[in-house]
Structure formats: structure tokens, C-alpha cells
């Protein structure tokens, strides 16, 4: 820790931290447009200039030194800043009246703040038509080329989908160089040369919409929101992403639907883009609510009667519920002895239980911050960008900002992940390998392992022959042509032999000691050792593949051992929004004979959001909390009104419930804190510290060190016909598919290599066969992977029939003749 002085006040900070970051964390205002927290500085706007020890520096990239004295504003600097804002206004269309950014436009704000009231400079404008980029519109004439979109796409999302392209503007008056203030001219000169464009025609874009969120002006906007509402008409309702387990902070922006219909409608989802990135589903999948819900008293009474007569034996549900609802279900279980059936949460629960036995901690110790601050990250068992995009953002951020290195294990290649950094090694492995990955990690990174394990690992090496290239000096005779002047003075070429010493690379066979596991996985240990050079903070990300694997119990034990015996911070991704919450609150069972009440799932009698016997509220219509992948209990609020019954009404009718769902928040169980719903905060502060709900404490217990058998239950399957269970980007469940911007029909998504080996083409109609079950669907090309994956977001098809619990399945594919 060092101290620096900003405007006469002393602040503590880390040595080498950026001045702007320190100022922001401490609430000192330094104007800046192009800089985004957590990204690398672009130096496009130069507004953040300050005087540090008498020298003018850009605070977004100037690093703090002990005793530094910073002054954020002098008359000179103010003049420059005003001139910069003035140049941004040259030819900026005066359409604030209709611009969607009006009211939250940073150009507007800073022009007003710097007091720009005249324009002295001019340049002839060029024609720059509007461009549509799928869910996003780009209006180049409004763009101020701050490059925030390019930066966020590169440093956070990792897609690298945007770049700067030539602007082709008119040449400007050379005399401006003398008349304009220096910094302003530099900014303007750069501005006049570039615009924003898409890399390879937008193929690398996932339409997450983060570029539109960070745009300080109205250049990048969400197409569906265009001209629908002014920013100031919208009420922001703080909530949490209901679709995936990051449960990131979102704001539902609501206002009445129209003049005739005064019911609230969600117009868009906004975010705190400095600290919480949103994935595509969070940003665009907001209208999945139960619109025409009504109170069907007869069905409610039927359910209550069935409970009272002990006819309901099972409650089948999924993890797209709040903690409060999970608590209600476990109350029903206690009272009526029903079985709580939730396959995916049960697997996660079992994984966690086994994990905690061997790790000695009841929860994993990783979170977003540990990943972001790591310098060596391993991801295994997760199709990361599809399963948990927000973790892929943090992984990419660590690679870009911390110069971290990473290993990405997956049977399906992901070219975007592999393009994150040169220091990311993509390891494509056979789908029957999973314990080998964790064994390799334990073998390589484990310290003070139990003796039986250490002995096992010591024996799991083998000497293999390897060819290496060695430099060797050799003398060779070479024919050299020489130009010699003959007697007449003419140049004649003469050939001459000469002996030259040359360094030749020769192969030499040596014996090296290689781990059997890394050999099985096809790892290049030398490369990995290079990546590991000087790395100190390690993170391990475990995904759904491992939780659903036949080896799950074994994998959980090994993950526990990794957390205990290595420096890795482990994060086990909850597969659905609130899998972790459900796993911590409910005791889950297997299905029993008898009637089943389905909550958003099939059953003899169902309650749910869409097409069920009794209406239930969607997650944007109820208040409650989720436990996100950071083990944080985060609140969510209803954005829309709801006219039907909710789960709590069943409990109330059975004389079990509290008045409101939120009354359960402080009574969730021993693992949870005793905090009332209304006391839960939901925000980030200026330094990026999360004030969202509260974090669950990890309880440490004694761990088991017993020997266990390490035998893989995976069978060797033919890789060529293996398909994988995963959703395309932006889809997580039937709820995301209900959203108007995301709605689509399930297809078999396949990479080019997969299509080639099966001689199929994009958009072909195929039938998938497995054990006599057939499914007909179309193929869609996903050029970012090499395998094929079948989605489960579409509730019109039953995908589980094609997988026995695990995420891989061998199927036969046939092209259907039309």
C-alpha cells in the first residue's frame, strides 16, 4: 500500500494502480469518456488528463507512485477539456430530441459540464448510413469513436467482433493544427480517421449487446428499443439475471405499455456495465412473463385437496425458482412427506456433498473475483461460452488484463475461447476422458497429498522417447558465385568452391519422464510449463459435464482434493440459475409412485408460467433471492404485475405460509444469514466492490483422506457420431425461448468439420436416431466449433431421450429426403 494525494486529500492505494481507478474508487471525479473499468485504456478521449507531480499525464494509464501529488483540474486542463468536447460536437447531428441516448448521453453531459456553447471549427460532413447488426443498430454519424465498444468486446466479452475502420472523411483545413489546442487536435485528428466496423462481417459476434450498453452516445442502440421511449420515462427496477447462474445485476426498465394500456411493460434491460457484464439472454430475454394469468380457484382447491388427502407424492420442479420457493417446497415436503424431484439440482447436490467430504469445506472457494485476479486458469468440463458466458468473460478479462494464461479442456473446440489469448491452450480431448484431467491437475499441482495418492501419482509416469532438435555445427562445401572483373574490365561470374561452417538442426532422441495422464490428454507439458512461468494465483472452473458424468462422484472427490491440496481456487458452475440455492435448501429425492405436482415441469397436475393447469408467476414477476455461482444470495424484484396465484398461496391455503414470499428470505436455513429481504442491497460501488445481497460463508469441517478406487466408468465411444447436449449462445431454457428477441426453433448445431465427416450441409434436414427414438430437425452451421450439439431450450422436443443423463451421446445421423 502506498499513499497518493489527489486535490490535497491523501488516499491509500496499491502501487502501480491507475490514477483514474483510485480517483473513481474514492469518489473523486475525473472526466473520462473512453475508459471502462476493468479494461485496458485506449487513450481516445484524453479528457482524463491530470497534473501528476507537475507533469501532465493521462490518469487512465498513469500509474500511482508513492507520494504522488495529483491535481485533477487546472485552468489549462479545463481549456483543453472544453476544446476536446467542442471538437466532438463538430458535425454531431443535432437530433438529441429523438436520440434514444438523450438523457443518459455522456456527450450531452460533458458538453454541458465543460460549458461548450459555441462552435468554431467545421468540416464538410460525409454520408454515413445507418447499419443494422442483428439485434443492434449502428449509426456512424452519432459515433464519437471512443472505442469503448471495441474495448469491451476485446477485454471483457472476448469475441473481438469489433474494430476501427477508415472513416473516409474530407480532408480538413491544415491551419486547424495551429489554431486548435494541442490535445483537442490530437483527439479530433484520430476521430476524423476512424469509425467502428465489424470483424469478418459479424461472424464472430454473439449479439450480447454489451457494446450498445457501453456506448456513451446513441451510436450503438438495441434495435428493438429504438425510438420506443426516452430514458427518463423509464423506471429502473433492480433485479438479478433469471436465466443463468451468474445472476448478474440487471435493471428492468419499465413504463406503461401504451396510452391505452397503462400496465407496465419492460422496454429493455440495462446494467452496471462497468462491473457486471450481461450475457445475451440477460439483456434480450426479458419478456418471458405470464401475461394473461388469472386466479383459477377450482384448480387451486383441487391441489389443496390433493395435498390434504396425501394424494400428491412427488413435486417435480426445476432450478429456475427463487430460494423462497425452494424453501416453500421443502416445507411442503416436511409436512406432507412428498418427494422433491429435480434431477439436475440433485446431481449438483450430490457433487457438492462428495466435494465437501474431501475438501473439508462445504462450498467451493472460487468466485468472479478469484478468476479475475488469477494468472493461471483451468476450465474443464464446461462448454464455457454456452454454459456460463459470464465466467468466460471473467476468464478472458484475466487473460487480457492480468496477462494470465489458461488451459481450456473440452471435447468440443471453441475457436472464440482459443482466440482469447496466445496464452490460452485449448485442449480438445476425447469425451470419455474426464477424471484424467483432474488427476493430471492433482499430480502436477498437488502438495502434501495423502500418501496413497502420492504413491499412485508417482507411479503414473512413463519414460517416452522424444525427438528433439539439437543445433550442430557442420562444415559443408558450397559453390559460391563470384563476380570478378576480367582483364577487359567486364564483369564475369566465376564459380568457386568454399568451405562454410553451418549450424544444422539434427534430431536427437532423448528419454523424458511424462505423466501418463498428460499423455492420454495429449498435453504438451513443455508448453504448459512455459505458460506456468511466474504464475502464482490459480483458478479451476468445473462445469456441468463433470456433474452429469458417470464418474461424477469420483470427479467430485478429486475436485475436493484439488481445493484442499493445491493452490487452486475452485468454482463448480451451478448448471441452472438457482441450482446452488436449491441444492442448499431442499433435500432432493428420487421420484416415487403416485401423483406428481409439476412446477414448470410435467406432472399429473401442473402449475407454471406457460400452458399449465394453474398459473404461476415468471421470475420477472416475483420477488425473492437466488444463490449465484459466486455463492452470493442476490435479490430479484418483480418488474411486472401478476394477477394469478403463486406457490405461497398454496402454502397459505394449507395454513403453512407467511403473508409474502419475501417473508421467507430470513428463514431459509442455517446456511443462510438472518437478513430480511428489504435489507438486501443490490449494487456495485464505484470501486467495483459488490454490494449485492450477502455472501455465504464457507464452513470448514474435517475432511476424509481415505483411499478410494479410481476407475473411469466412461466407455470408449466412437467420437465421430458423438453429439453433445448444449444450448446455442443466448439460450438457457424454455424461458429464454419465450422471449421475443430470442425465440427460435431447436436445430442440430454443428461445426464445419462435423458436417464434412457426415457429408451434410448447412440447413439440411436430418433425423437423429438412438435406441429406436428418432428426432427430425434442421442443421445449423456453427463455425466456432468442430463438433455437434443438440439444444434443450426448446420444450417441444424431448432431448433427454437422446442422452442418458450425461452430456454426450452416440447417435446415428441420417439425412432426410424432402
Amino acid at each position: 500500500m502506498v499513499k497518493i494525494t489527489i486535490n490535497g486529500k491523501t488516499y491509500k492505494c496499491e502501487e502501480g494502480e491507475q490514477i483514474l481507478k483510485i480517483a473513481r474508487s474514492n469518489g473523486v471525479f475525473i472526466p473520462a469518456i473512453c475508459y471502462l473499468s476493468g479494461c485496458s485504456p485506449t487513450l481516445a478521449c484524453r479528457l482524463c488528463m491530470v497534473e501528476a507531480d507537475g507533469k501532465r499525464v493521462y490518469s487512465c494509464n498513469a500509474k500511482a507512485k508513492d507520494g504522488m501529488n495529483v491535481i485533477t483540474s487546472t485552468p489549462d486542463i479545463e481549456d483543453e477539456r472544453k476544446a476536446i468536447m467542442q471538437t466532438y460536437c463538430i458535425n454531431h447531428p443535432l437530433e438529441c430530441g429523438t436520440c434514444d441516448q438523450s438523457g443518459e448521453c455522456e456527450l450531452q453531459n460533458f458538453v454541458f459540464h465543460m460549458g461548450v456553447d459555441t462552435q468554431e471549427y467545421a468540416i464538410k460532413d460525409t454520408y454515413k448510413p445507418m447499419q443494422n447488426w442483428g439485434l443492434i443498430d449502428y449509426d456512424p454519424s452519432l459515433c464519437i469513436v471512443c472505442e469503448r465498444c471495441v474495448t469491451v468486446c476485446k477485454d471483457k466479452m472476448g469475441n473481438n467482433a469489433l474494430k476501427t475502420v477508415p472513416r473516409n472523411s474530407e480532408p480538413f483545413d491544415k491551419s486547424l493544427k495551429e489554431t486548435m489546442p494541442k490535445e483537442a487536435f490530437a483527439v479530433w485528428n484520430k476521430f476524423q480517421k476512424s469509425l467502428i466496423g465489424r470483424n469478418d462481417d459479424g461472424l464472430s459476434c454473439d449479439s450480447c449487446g454489451e457494446c450498445a450498453a457501453v456506448c456513451p452516445v446513441g451510436a450503438l442502440t438495441v434495435s428493438s428499443f429504438k425510438y420506443k421511449s426516452n430514458a427518463w420515462e423509464l423506471t429502473k427496477i433492480g433485479a438479478s439475471n433469471p436465466h443463468s447462474s451468474d445472476c448478474e445485476l440487471i435493471y428492468y426498465d419499465v413504463k406503461p405499455a401504451s396510452i391505452e394500456d397503462r400496465k407496465d411493460k419492460i422496454y429493455r434491460v440495462s446494467s452496471d456495465f462497468d462491473f457486471g457484464e450481461l450475457n445475451k439472454a440477460a439483456r434480450f430475454g426479458f419478456d418471458f412473463h405470464n401475461e394473461k394469468a388469472h386466479k383459477d380457484r377450482i384448480v387451486l382447491e383441487r391441489i389443496i385437496k390433493a395435498f390434504k388427502e396425501n394424494k400428491i407424492k412427488n413435486i417435480k420442479f426445476n432450478s429456475f425458482i427463487t430460494n423462497e420457493e425452494a424453501k416453500m417446497l421443502s416445507i411442503l415436503k416436511d409436512k406432507f412427506d412428498v418427494k422433491l424431484v429435480n434431477k439436475e439440482a440433485k446431481k449438483y447436490q450430490e457433487f457438492l456433498k462428495e466435494f465437501s467430504k474431501y475438501s473439508g469445506a462445504d462450498l467451493y472457494n472460487g468466485d468472479f473475483d478469484t478468476i479475475k485476479s488469477s494468472d493461471f486458469i483451468i476450465s474443464a468440463g464446461s462448454f464455457l461460452r454456452h454454459d456460463a458466458p459470464n465466467i468466460s468473460y471473467k476468464l478472458n478479462n484475466a487473460l487480457k488484463i492480468n496477462k494470465a494464461s489458461a488451459l481450456y479442456f473440452h471435447p468440443l473446440k471453441d475457436s472464440v475461447v482459443e482466440g482469447y489469448s496466445k496464452n490460452l491452450l485449448g485442449c480438445k480431448h476425447s469425451s470419455n476422458l474426464d477424471i484424467e484431467i483432474l488427476l493430471w491437475i492433482l499430480q502436477k499441482f498437488g502438495k502434501n497429498l495423502p500418501k496413497w495418492l502420492q504413491d499412485k501419482f508417482d507411479s503414473e509416469f512413463e519414460n517416452i522417447k522424444k525427438d528433439i532438435l539439437v543445433d550442430k555445427k557442420e562444415t559443408q562445401t558450397k559453390i559460391v558465385k563470384k563476380k570478378v572483373k576480367d582483364e577487359d574490365g567486364k564483369e564475369v561470374e566465376v564459380e568457386e568452391e568454399k568451405e562454410v561452417e553451418v549450424v544444422v538442426k539434427t534430431k536427437k532422441e532423448i528419454l523424458i519422464n511424462v505423466s501418463k495422464y498428460s499423455k492420454m490428454l495429449g498435453l504438451d507439458e513443455e508448453k504448459i510449463d512455459k505458460l506456468l512461468d511466474k504464475k502464482t494465483k490459480f483458478s479451476l472452473i468445473i462445469g456441468e459435464d463433470f456433474i452429469t458424468s458417470k464418474n461424477a462422484i469420483l470427479l467430485a472427490k478429486l475436485t475436493g482434493l484439488i481445493q484442499k491440496y493445491s493452490e487452486f481456487n475452485v468454482l463448480i458452475i451451478p448448471p441452472r440459475t438457482n441450482s446452488l440455492g436449491v441444492a442448499l435448501i431442499c433435500e432432493l429425492d428420487e421420484m416415487m409412485d403416485g401423483k406428481t405436482l409439476g412446477y414448470n415441469e410435467d406432472g399429473d397436475i401442473t402449475l407454471g408460467v406457460h400452458g399449465c393447469d394453474l398459473d404461476a408467476p415468471a421470475l420477472n414477476q416475483q420477488e425473492g433471492t437466488f444463490v449465484n455461482l459466486e455463492k452470493r444470495v442476490v435479490p430479484t424484484n418483480p418488474a411486472l404485475s401478476y394477477d394469478g396465484y403463486e406457490l405461497n398461496d398454496i402454502l397459505k391455503a394449507l395454513n403453512l405460509g407467511y403473508e409474502y414470499s419475501a417473508d421467507y428470505t430470513d428463514k431459509l436455513g442455517s446456511k443462510f444469514k438472518n437478513i430480511k429481504f428489504d435489507d438486501l442491497e443490490n449494487s456495485y460501488d464505484n470501486s467495483g466492490k459488490s454490494h449485492r445481497g450477502y455472501k455465504l460463508n464457507i464452513k470448514h469441517t474435517e475432511s476424509i483422506e481415505d483411499e478410494f478406487e479410481i476407475i473411469s466408468k466412461n466407455e470408449l465411444i466412437d467420437e465421430e457420431n458423438t453429439i453433445y447436449k448444449a444450448n446455442p449462445i443466448g439460450q438457457f431454457s424454455k424461458f429464454t425461448n419465450r422471449a421475443s428477441a430470442l425465440n427460435s426453433v431447436a436445430k442440430l448445431y454443428a461445426g464445419e468439420e462435423f458436417l464434412k465427416t457426415h457429408s451434410l450441409e448447412d440447413k439440411d434436414l436430418i433425423s437423429i436416431d438412438r435406441n429406436g427414438k428418432t428426432l427430425s430437425l434442421r442443421i445449423e452451421l456453427d463455425n466456432k466449433t468442430d463438433g455437434a450439439y443438440l439444444p434443450f431450450f426448446d420444450d417441444k422436443i424431448d432431448v433427454d431421450e437422446f442422452f442418458d443423463g450425461s452430456r454426450y451421446s452416440k447417435v446415428s445421423l441420417k439425412r432426410s429426403e424432402v
Binding site: Q119, K226, Y227, N230, P256, S258, I259
Partner: protein
């Protein structure tokens, strides 16, 4: 200070002076005179309202093209002190912001004139219509009620009341450098 005696004297003077009878005479004369203009036969006759009067709103069109002037910026909605204006907007087929509907709760409006004042396009203005008695407290007018009928475009008068530009506005506005560039190009 006036004493009570002063006040009594003033009372006598006012009561018995000739002025009272002069007034009575005027009334008598006007009563008997034909075509007197002092009494208006409302509602057959209506008073001529000044341009500055703030009556029921109008939405104007552009005189040349007949296009709606309203750009849907929402400033009137924002500034409205009695919160009685609402509008629905969308992206038009021509890529411009279109106002689908516009409503004013005339029963709630206090006719303060801020909407007309703030309107950057002089689209929402006050008209001379002052009759807004209705059966209910809430009385809504919609876009079709306020907008100049395209047939009556020729009769649409430029607004001169509250919020209108002064006659010499063109001379008062400072030209931007871009204007000079355009002028240079035209000269070339």
C-alpha cells in the same frame, strides 16, 4: 390618516354627485340603442381570443410538406406540471421517430403553457378554444383531436403566442461554421 368625518364627507359626495346619474344615463342609452355590441349572445356569438390566450392544444403540421411537426422528443411530457401528457412513439418505416399516439388529459391540464414553450418544433401550441366542460373530471384528447386536419392545412395559422419565436429570430441566431462551409460550396 383619514378621520371618520373625512370618510363621511366622501360618502356624501359619492352618493349624491351627478356621476351616478351619468352612468345610469349611459346604460339607459345603450339599452334603447339598436345593434348594441356590449352584450354577447353566447353561445351563438363567441369572443375573439388573443393569440396569447392558452386554450385547448393544437398539434401543427409543416406548412410546406404537410408532415407532422412533432418529432416525439417527449419534452412536453417531461415538463408538464400536472403530468397530463402521454405519447407513444416507434421507429417509422422511413427510419424516423414516429408518434403513434398523443394524449392530453384536458380535465387535468392547468393550461400553464409550458408544453408549448418547451416544444423545440413549435408542434404543440395552444389554440383559442376555451370550451372544455365535460361530463367527467378526466377528459382525454388524442392525436387526431389536436392535429391539424390535412385538408385544413391552408387555414393553419402560425402560432404567435406563448413560446413562439420572435419575428426577428432569423437575425438573432448565430450561424455555425458548418453554414459557412455550405455557403462556400454553393459559391463554388
Amino acid at each position: 390618516m383619514k378621520t371618520n368625518i373625512d370618510k363621511f364627507r366622501r360618502f356624501l359626495k359619492r352618493t349624491f354627485s351627478v356621476e351616478l346619474f351619468v352612468g345610469l344615463g349611459v346604460v339607459l342609452r345603450e339599452m334603447l340603442k339598436k345593434n348594441s355590441n356590449h352584450t354577447m349572445f353566447y353561445p351563438m356569438e363567441k369572443v375573439n381570443i388573443d393569440a396569447r390566450y392558452r386554450g385547448v392544444h393544437k398539434l401543427l403540421r409543416l406548412a410546406e410538406s404537410g408532415n407532422e411537426r412533432c418529432i416525439g422528443c417527449g419534452l412536453c411530457e417531461k415538463i408538464c406540471v400536472s403530468n397530463c401528457i402521454a405519447m407513444d412513439t416507434k421507429l417509422g418505416e422511413d427510419g424516423r421517430k414516429k408518434v403513434i399516439n398523443y394524449s392530453i388529459n384536458l380535465g387535468r391540464c392547468v393550461y400553464c403553457g409550458l408544453c408549448a414553450d418547451v416544444c423545440p418544433e413549435l408542434a404543440i401550441v395552444h389554440g383559442g378554444d376555451y370550451e372544455f366542460a365535460s361530463e367527467q373530471r378526466a377528459y382525454y384528447g388524442f392525436k387526431e383531436d389536436f392535429l391539424t386536419n390535412i385538408k385544413d392545412l391552408k387555414e393553419q395559422k402560425e402560432f404567435e403566442g406563448y413560446g413562439a419565436l420572435p419575428n426577428d429570430a432569423d437575425f438573432k441566431v448565430k450561424l455555425t461554421p458548418t453554414t459557412y462551409i455550405k455557403k462556400d460550396q454553393e459559391n463554388d
